[in-house]
Symmetry: C2
Subunit: 240 residues, 2 copies
Amino acid sequence: MSAARAVVLLSGGLDSTTCLAWARAQGFACHTLAVDYGQRHRVELEAARAIAARSNNVEHREIAVDLRVLGGSALTAAIAVPKHRALDAMADQIPVTYVPARNTILLALALAYAETLGARDIVAGMNALDYSGYPDCRPEFVAAFERVAALGTRAGAEGTRFRIHTPLMALDKAGIIRLGQSLGVDYGLTHSCYDPAADGAACGACDACRLRSKGFEEAGLPDPTRYGSSPNRGTGCVSS
Amino acid sequence: MSAARAVVLLSGGLDSTTCLAWARAQGFACHTLAVDYGQRHRVELEAARAIAARSNNVEHREIAVDLRVLGGSALTAAIAVPKHRALDAMADQIPVTYVPARNTILLALALAYAETLGARDIVAGMNALDYSGYPDCRPEFVAAFERVAALGTRAGAEGTRFRIHTPLMALDKAGIIRLGQSLGVDYGLTHSCYDPAADGAACGACDACRLRSKGFEEAGLPDPTRYGSSPNRGTGCVSS
C-alpha cells in the first residue's frame, strides 16, 4: 500500500519546516505548498524551495496570491515592522504583522490542493502559545475550518473527513526546536525574520527573530541563524 | 452617517451582478472583488470590470491566484467542458467544472478584504437551487464559513460579527433575473459561458449557458446574450 498523501503548508520558516519533518515521520507522502502572498520577506520562499529539495520524495509547489492588492499588514504593505518589543507584550495583542485572514486563505489553498490530490490530511504550523496574538492560530479556528472543509468540498460531500494537523499547537519555541532536532531538521536552512537584509540575513530584532533566538537559547542548542551586521540586533540599541 | 461598506464578490456573471445590484439597493457602499483564478473564461473578468465601471461609487479590485498550479477542474485545466447536458442531470452530480474549494478561497479573499476595509458585510452569489451539485453553494457551508470568519480574524476576535449575504440562495435562475430586472441590471454586460469563443461569444451549450438561457425564457424576458455562430448551440446537434 502506498503512503497516504498530506499537504504540508511550508513557509520556509522554523515552524513549518518542523511540521514537514513531523509529517514525514508520520509516514505521509508529503506535498509541500508555499504561498507567495507578496510578503516582504521573499527569502522565505527560497528557503521553502531549498528545504523541500533537500527532503526525499517531497513534491513542492508554489502558488501566488498577491495580498498586497488588499493591503492592511506590515508584512505586505508599507507599514514598519516593529522591533525590540518585549516578548511578553507579543502574546497580548494582535501585532501589525497580522495579515488579514491569512491562515484562512492558506488553509483554503491547501484544501483545494488536498482535494485535487485525493489527500485528506493537511499539516500546518499554527501555534497558540507564542502566537496567541494571532486569532487564526487558535485550535477553535482550526476546528471551524475543518467544518468548512467537510461542507465546502466535493470530497467532503462524498464522505472524506479532512483533518488539519497542527503538531506545534501546544509547544513553545524551545519545544518546537527540540522536536525538530529529534527529527533531524537542519534549522540552518530555515528563515524566520520578518524584515531581512537584501542578502537574506536576519534582523535579530523583529518579533519573529526574537522568539526564534529565545527558543534556541531555552532549548540549549546553538542558533544557526545568520544575522546581519547592522546595529539592529539585540535590545534597546535602536528605537523601533 | 456614511454608508456601511460591503465586499461584493463580482465574477462578471449574471448571478454576482444581480448581487451587486441587491447590495446597492440595500444601501451598502460596495467594494467589488473579482478573482482571477486562471479560469478559461477570461472574458468574465473584463465583464466584471465593465459592470463595476458602469455603477456609481463602486470601487473594483482584481486579485490573482493561479489555481491552475493546483489543477483539478475543467474550468482551469485541460479538461473538456461538458456540453448539452440535460438540465435535471446538473442538479444531481458534482460536475467537472467544479473547482476544488473555490468558494472557500473566494470567501477567504473577500474576508481579508472586508477586514482591511473595516467592513463586516460580504455579498456572494451562492445559489443552492441551480447549483445543488456544488457543495460549496449550500447554506450550511456559508454558515460554517461565517464561524471561520468570526474566529480567524482580528476583527472577529474584537467582536465584529461578519455576515455573508447570499441573496440568491433560494431563487431559481428566472427568479434571479426577475430580481435583477427590478433593480435595473443590464444583463447584456454580464457573462456566464464556461467555454466562450475568442471574441467572448457564448457557446450556448455548456451548463452555464443552458441555465441562463432557460432563466430568461422562464422569466419571460429577452435573452441579451451574444451567442457564437458555431453549430454548438442547442441540444443534440453535437456530442459532448
